[in-house]
């Protein structure tokens, strides 16, 4: 087995475009669940409306990338409002049900012939990233190496933009969570009745959180479309939502850098296992096997570090009410 090349691939995967995209999406999920306590099991839906918002605007309506970005953001906001307005007044579980259903329903809807004029359905929507690529100062086809890290120019460009967005997102979260706004959000997570009894409009805060986190998810979708250029509704598998949950819990829910660290570790493990299992050459379905191993790693994590890598175990042990 070529350990050197497996390690190099794993390290490259750790910082690669998808690690960045997942980190960005998880920032939004962390705002939802980690800080506000909203059970969002359909984060993929936000990524999808973001991805197809910009994709359709560019490919089908001939708009520029910037207008496409605006469409994607608006689409995420609308989705958050549509999901949140009817469900956020109810108990937390209802949002979970609504979001998980929305994720599935949207994927099927985007894939249907009814919406083919907008999404191209199963035939794929593209090319959407031409304008994005023209802004790339790097050579798209060239391989760039930094020690063990190796990336194509196109990937590197996506990474630069997406990791920058992640950093900006983290900064924004840092500012927000130190502010009284963040304090109210955390109080909603702890006990929304208490927050209401102190004069806080809990519904409005939950909606703000859902919208902001949804936009972060939408932006992750935008970057995915810029990365893939051709986008298929079938890509937006509900499994991804749960990868995002894994990343959040792995890094530590309710921690600013939790999603970033979680994504790095997750993608390192994911790419490493892929190379390792292929190297073993056991005749396994390595794709399935690595998911099983990641699952096992998570079980161990939950046993030995239930609050995640950055989480505070003492804090987690406190009874919630």
């Amino acid at each position: 087995m070529d350990w050197g090349s497996i390690l190099s691939t794993s390290l490259s995967g750790m910082l690669g475009p998808f690690a960045a995209i997942y980190a960005l999406a998880t920032l939004g999920l962390n705002l939802h669940f980690g800080y506000t306590g909203l059970l969002n099991f359909g984060h993929i839906a936000f990524m999808m409306v973001g991805a197809f918002g910009i994709g359709s605007a560019i490919v089908k309506f001939g708009l520029s990338m910037w207008w496409g970005l605006l469409v994607a953001i608006l689409a995420s906001v609308v989705l958050a409002l549509v999901l949140g307005i009817p469900t956020l007044r109810l108990r937390g579980d209802y949002l979970a049900i609504a979001t998980i259903a929305a994720g599935e329903a949207l994927r099927l809807f985007f894939n249907s012939s009814y919406l083919e004029s907008v999404t191209n359905g199963p035939f794929g929507l593209g090319p959407a990233a031409d304008e994005f690529d023209t802004l790339n100062p790097l050579d798209k086809g060239r391989m760039y190496s930094f020690g063990p890290f190796q990336y194509q120019g196109g990937d590197l460009w996506i990474m630069i933009i997406t990791w920058s967005l992640v950093i900006l997102g983290c900064l924004m979260m840092f500012m927000l969570m130190r502010s009284p706004w963040g304090r109210v959000l955390r109080s909603v997570r702890e006990d929304e009745l208490a927050a209401r009894s102190l004069g806080k409009n809990v519904y409005s805060f939950k909606l703000q959180s859902l919208v902001l986190g949804g936009v972060l998810g939408g932006l992750a979708g935008v970057m995915w479309t810029m990365d893939a250029s051709t986008q298929y509704p079938a890509n937006f598998d509900p499994r991804i939502t749960f990868y995002l949950w894994v990343i959040m819990i792995l890094g530590g829910a309710g921690r600013i850098l939790g999603p970033v660290l979680g994504s790095l570790v997750f993608w390192f493990l994911f790419t490493f296992l892929d190379g390792f299992l292929k190297g073993l050459d056991l005749g396994l379905n390595t794709g399935a096997a690595r998911i099983a191993v990641v699952g096992l790693a998570l079980v161990l994590l939950m046993v030995f570090r239930p609050a995640g890598i950055l989480g505070n175990r003492e804090e987690m042990r406190l009874e919630v009410r």
């Binding site: 955390r186 009894s197 102190l198 004069g199 809990v202 406190l318 919630v320």
Partner: protein, 327 residues
């Protein structure tokens, strides 16, 4: 209205005229009569209520909250059915009644945490029926909960600071610009620290509320409610699960709040506590108000005794006790 209500409790009448031979009984009776006619001991809260008649739905000289025909039905059960209730400003008003009498449900209704089937109620002369809970709280009518709701994974200080109303930094865009709220934050911190000190929680300032004892959480919840600067504070069983020593301290805090002009409504089961601190008592049974009055009125009220103990068995009243002591 009866003007002599405070001077004679009805049950004294029975023994008044009788000839008493045993000196210890005479002494006990003296004490009883004196306790009842001690107007100099009346609290700030009790004074305006001296001439108020003790009957359900009676109007008060200066009510802060008025509830009218408030009812709440859960399926076939009429949990609350209050014809008319006024709460005098600046008093400690206790709601008592057996379990399931509708006290907590009534709390939930008037504080906006539940919607009534019928009824209107007003606070400070403003109709607040059907207003959402957070609006009612902001208007100055704040409640606490029977099961304490300390925000466990936030520190005591953060719990307190949450209570302050009208914070600029709680709006999304200003939240991103610290200079917009830093000054206010400082003022809020100072106020929170003062209240923490007052409620003997200063040493817990930076501890997670989840590490506090049950009694400390009750104190924290009360202090946090005070951060809202309420005119009326509604305490749902503030003494439940609190050790006796801390109960005394909680009582002291409640009385002090009243003396400073805050109106307090509390639901409580401990009769000693209620009789010792209440200025006015409202007794609920099966959803309705069956009696209202000063502690002395309530102590001897037949309807209250029936509601608590059933009509057939009653605790020995003071006269019964005295009769038993006579040879």
């Amino acid at each position: 209205m009866k003007s002599d209500d405070v001077d004679t409790t009805p049950h004294d009448g029975g023994v008044m005229g009788e000839e008493v031979t045993d000196p210890s009984v005479a002494a006990a009776r003296e004490q009883l009569v004196h306790a009842a006619e001690a107007p100099q001991e009346l609290s700030v809260g009790a004074r305006p209520l001296v001439n108020v008649e003790a009957r359900p739905g009676v109007s008060k000289p200066d009510p802060i909250m008025i509830a009218d025909k408030v009812s709440r039905r859960f399926g076939g059960l009429l949990a609350v059915d209050v014809e008319h209730l006024e709460v005098q400003r600046g008093t400690i008003t206790a709601l008592i009644g057996p379990n399931g009498a509708g006290k907590s449900t009534f709390f939930n209704l008037v504080s906006g945490f539940d919607k009534p089937t019928t009824g209107r109620w007003s606070f400070n002369g403003k109709d607040i029926s059907g207003k959402p809970a957070h609006r009612i709280a902001r208007m100055g009518m704040v409640r606490t909960f029977q099961l304490t709701k300390a925000l466990t994974r936030m520190t005591a200080l953060q719990n307190m600071m949450l209570g302050a109303t009208g914070q600029t930094g709680e709006r999304f865009l200003p939240a991103l610009v610290p200079p917009a709220w830093r000054g206010q934050e400082k003022a809020v911190t100072a106020r929170a620290d003062d209240l923490l000190k007052r409620f003997n929680l200063a040493h817990m300032r930076d501890q997670f509320a989840g590490t506090m004892s049950g009694g400390q959480r009750k104190l924290l919840e009360m202090a946090r409610a005070m951060m809202v600067e309420p005119e009326l504070i509604m305490l749902d069983e503030p003494m439940a699960g609190v050790n006796p020593a801390l109960t005394q301290s909680l009582l002291g805090h409640i009385q002090k709040l009243r003396d400073e002009g805050t109106t307090i409504i509390l639901v409580e089961h401990d009769m000693d506590v209620i009789m010792s601190i209440s200025d006015w008592i409202v007794c609920f049974a099966e959803g309705s108000v069956i009696a209202e009055g000063r502690p002395d009125d309530i102590r001897s009220n037949e309807a209250v005794i029936d509601a608590y103990l059933g009509a057939r068995r009653a605790l020995p009243t003071d006269d019964a006790a005295q009769e038993a002591m006579q040879p």
